[in-house]
Amino acid sequence: MRNGDSTHQEPQAIKASPPLRTEPLVEPSSTPYKELPKGPVGRSERRIDGPEKVLGTALYGADLFFGKADYFAQVVRSEKAHALIRSIETGDALRMPGVVAVYTAKDMPGTNRQGLIHRDHPVLAEDRVLYRGDGVAIVVAESERAVRRGRDAVKVLYEELPVVADFDDALAEDAPRLHPDGNIMGGKRIRKGDADAALSASDVIVSETFVTQTVDHAFLDIEAGIACWDGHLLTLHVSGQWAHEERRLTALALGLPMEAVRIITPATGGAFGGREDLSMQVYLGMVALKHPGKTIAMRYSREESMRARHKRHAMRIHYTIGAMRDGTLTAAKITVYSNEGAYASTGPAVLRKAASHATGPLRIPNVYVDVYGVYTNNNPTGAMRGFGACQMAIAYNGMMDRLAERLGMDRADLWKQNLIHSGDAVTTGQIIPIATAVECLDAALRQYRAKKQHDRPLAPHERRGWGISVICFGLGYGDGFPDASRATVRLTPAGRLEVYTGGVEYGQGLLNMAGQVAAEELGMPFSLVDVIWADTGRTQESGSSSATRQTYFTGNAVKIAASELREQVLDIASKLLPVHPHELDLHDGKAVGRFNPSLVVPMAKLIEEGRKRGYSLEASGIFKPRTVCEDFDTGQSPRSFITYLFGSHIAQVVVDMETGEVRVERYVACHDVGKAINPQSVAGQMIGGATQGIGMALMEEVVMDGGVMRNANFTDYILPTFRDVPTIETIILENDDPGGPFGARGIGEPPLIAATPAVLSAIGNAIGVAPHTTPCNPQRVWELLYPDDAQTPYAARLTTAPPHALLSK
């Protein structure tokens, strides 16, 4: 049921590229952490969850079924993109052998509402469906076969309504209203300086409209889980990425007190934001409530997973940028329409992030940004790695390429001239104390040029090109949203160090991050660390595993907790040794005298003594920094995000000028992560993000046609394979963040954000026409090369561009 990737066995793919380095390149920092970590921080310690995942013994959602489930449940999903429900006939389904029950919205005990920001999405449709995938009914049966038959036997009578398929449909005057307030979900505005005046005073103005596609998260571990209601407590084991929020939302939808729900996240294979919205938690919970004492199991097929889940926002970005003849940027005017799909999901936050990242790390004195979210009858769009910032990175990087060409300047020079430096402000007005965009670009360029000579000779129909991207990313929720992580650390009688976090490990390396920080602080060997995670019954809220925030937030919370525990341990040691606690240090699992190294007490002894003397040997920490809400009218804020990350990628491609096929030949990724707590994990995130970004640049696309998804499977939703991705040459810069744990920032999203524009830039450099639409699959590249032959609807899309986007001087 989990999808294996058979490309692992293709020897050609491995031969084609040099062997993968296990250790990334680490560049010396210009602001080194003063007390160098002596323990596990900064080392590529073996993954805590590595052995069980490699051996196949880790239990993912679908592995929990065997021998445990009493009943299986399946959701009947809407077959219409927009329709009224006239009736739901369940008689045939109930007569199927093995079918136990069929439930509809009428049977839902609570509010029947879900949604991370607006509670606008009925868990089971009440009178209307808004996308082809909305849940309509739940069938419960004794076996998976019976439940599938039951599901197919439920007859829903619809009265079809006109389908709002795209932006233009939604904004038409006579468009059907999808939500009470109309089809515009909301927006975000930035007003900095006077962009109109600055544009008219500029020597050069360049305009372009970028169209980005809908992308699916395509995590391999499809949604699955089990639930049981024992009369007091509803226990859910469901793959997710924010256990505590899942608990709150599930309780709300089911009308239960929050305390009556416990969420335990099993091993989870990938999320990328795709597990932020609830998947099956409420469905499972509702069925469990109806059948006390029974264990209910549910799993989606790949098709159901793709049809039901939210997606990345497709955006249409009208971008106008002005510059002086010497390359100095003067103004930018940006209008963005974002396809929200049927429900808000995390859309409002995505819009705000898109607006605040509309000019990335560029220093532009005058900026107007208007972002609108538009409801359609497509899948809801919400969180996905990049979260609005990656679409904008495509746009501002694309504008820099166009501007460099118009000005006849070198792209790297134009970038360096306009990148913010430490102490400069980004578009929201926030001053960035340590801005290392230039350093990232320089390091990437050095690495790229050092190995340039290995290029293979080209065929007559091929062209080679290379491209640059530079990005910045504000981590955490930011924008005044309450954002906190909590952690508990505990020394057990057996001499082990336990770390408790509510964060979810879905493959990114959270457990090692938390464990290595705690072990470092307490001077313990990493082999003695256990991490207990994402169980609302045992761990405290640590926020979502998203927004590139867990290293910074949970890392800090663990460090705060561990440093308090450290004080306890040193206090115990000072009772056993004739020295003050300040004269003791913890390392290698021992308390050692700072000035007299012959004074030694092993940790086991300290724990034993501590327990005898009534020490708790446990401490908790909370990390809750403040951010300031962006001003409603101007979008300005002194501290919209807690800190910013910078990165730069370089891609080299070969394009077949006749067929439009693109092959990525070389790839350099450089990010400043502050401090790499586990360098191999950081490099892994960079390689994974670059791969996902290459997929977004070249092939991944959810094809919606009148509200119907045409490729809800991995036959036609095309993801990159090993053959499509060269060795990703990773460079980790370490310029400490003053507020991060051991100087660390984070790495989750930026590699994807930087990857897509780097590949697009390389394509533009190779073929001489800069791409404006993603993905650049062979057909789109060919359309760029031969616009007269292509009957592309692109020109038609431009007609609704605001007037300023059509300016050109």
Binding site: T7, E10, A13, E658, T659, R663, P720
Partner: protein, 278 residues
């Protein structure tokens, strides 16, 4: 019902008895996908994967004769360039170890890479019936419509015969480097006597040949002008559609590009290949 005979004769009897009610199963690489997606797929199967001598490929009078159970992995090792390259672009390693040539011909998808390659080398298809015996039909008569073929519901595809000495060329355009579904694919074969076959996938309801383009080459040879004329003709002969994989105009243009590119490749290979053949 799931039958798993060991002898071809048993399989033919079962097929003759149950006809369209039973679905022959080769590697299952098409059927399993259908079964996973919908609960209303076929119910009864005749599994051919355990048949003796059904997967063998032998050489006979300058031809290869491949049993219907020959897998893409096996075909990928043959010295017929277009067929081996086509076979090696089907799916990933696991799919190529399971998928069979009879399955590819039986499904008869317009995107069937193996079908396109065989169409370009004038393969013959052997269809067998328990009592009526064998009949051999040329591949260009085999495909009769969208996923429809000359195979009668009580027959099985038992073998495919194709020449070993044709010069061939192959190109497939997809969206990624492997495990790729064709957007357009093209195979061109040239017999030792100089007959040219130009075959395409994904540009019509069935895999198809561009016969007028072939006639231009037959008449005027492989000069630049005639290659260009053939390419122009191929673009007119194909009948592609717009779908979620690509646009018709792109597919049509690619038929021209690939015709030109592969004919030039064959012309370039000519002296060396001819030298080997003498």
């Amino acid at each position: 019902m799931f039958l798993q005979p060991r002898q071809v004769a048993e399989a033919l009897e079962a097929r003759a008895k149950y006809g369209a009610e039973i679905t022959p199963l080769g590697g299952g690489t098409d059927i399993v996908v259908v079964l996973n997606r919908q609960s209303t797929g076929p119910r009864h199967f005749l599994d051919l994967s355990r048949l003796e001598n059904y997967a063998a490929i032998r050489r006979e009078n300058g031809c290869y004769v491949a049993g219907g159970g020959a897998t893409f992995a096996q075909l990928g090792r043959l010295e017929v360039k277009a067929l081996s390259q086509a076979a090696m672009t089907v799916g990933g390693a696991a799919i190529r170890n399971a998928g069979t040539i009879a399955g590819n011909l039986g499904t008869a998808s317009p995107a069937g890479d193996g079908c396109v390659a065989l169409l370009a080398i004038d393969a013959d298809i052997e269809l067998s019936h328990a009592t009526r015996g064998r009949r051999v039909i040329p591949i260009h008569e085999y495909f009769t419509g969208f996923r429809r073929t000359a195979l009668v519901a009580d027959e099985l595809i038992t073998a495919v015969r194709f020449p070993a000495d044709w010069r061939t060329a192959w190109y497939k355009i997809g969206k990624r480097g492997s495990i790729n579904i064709s957007i357009v694919c093209c195979a061109i074969g040239m017999s030792p006597r100089g007959n040219v076959r130009i075959a395409f996938g994904c540009v019509a309801p069935t895999v198809m040949r561009a016969r007028q383009a072939e006639a231009i080459i037959a008449k005027d040879g492989l000069a630049d002008a005639s290659i260009e004329a053939a390419a122009q003709s191929a673009m007119k002969e194909v009948a592609p559609i717009d779908d979620h994989r690509s646009s018709a105009s792109y597919r049509r243009a690619m038929c021209g590009v690939l015709t030109r590119r592969l004919l030039r490749e064959l012309r370039q290979d000519a002296p060396r290949a001819a030298g080997r053949a003498e």
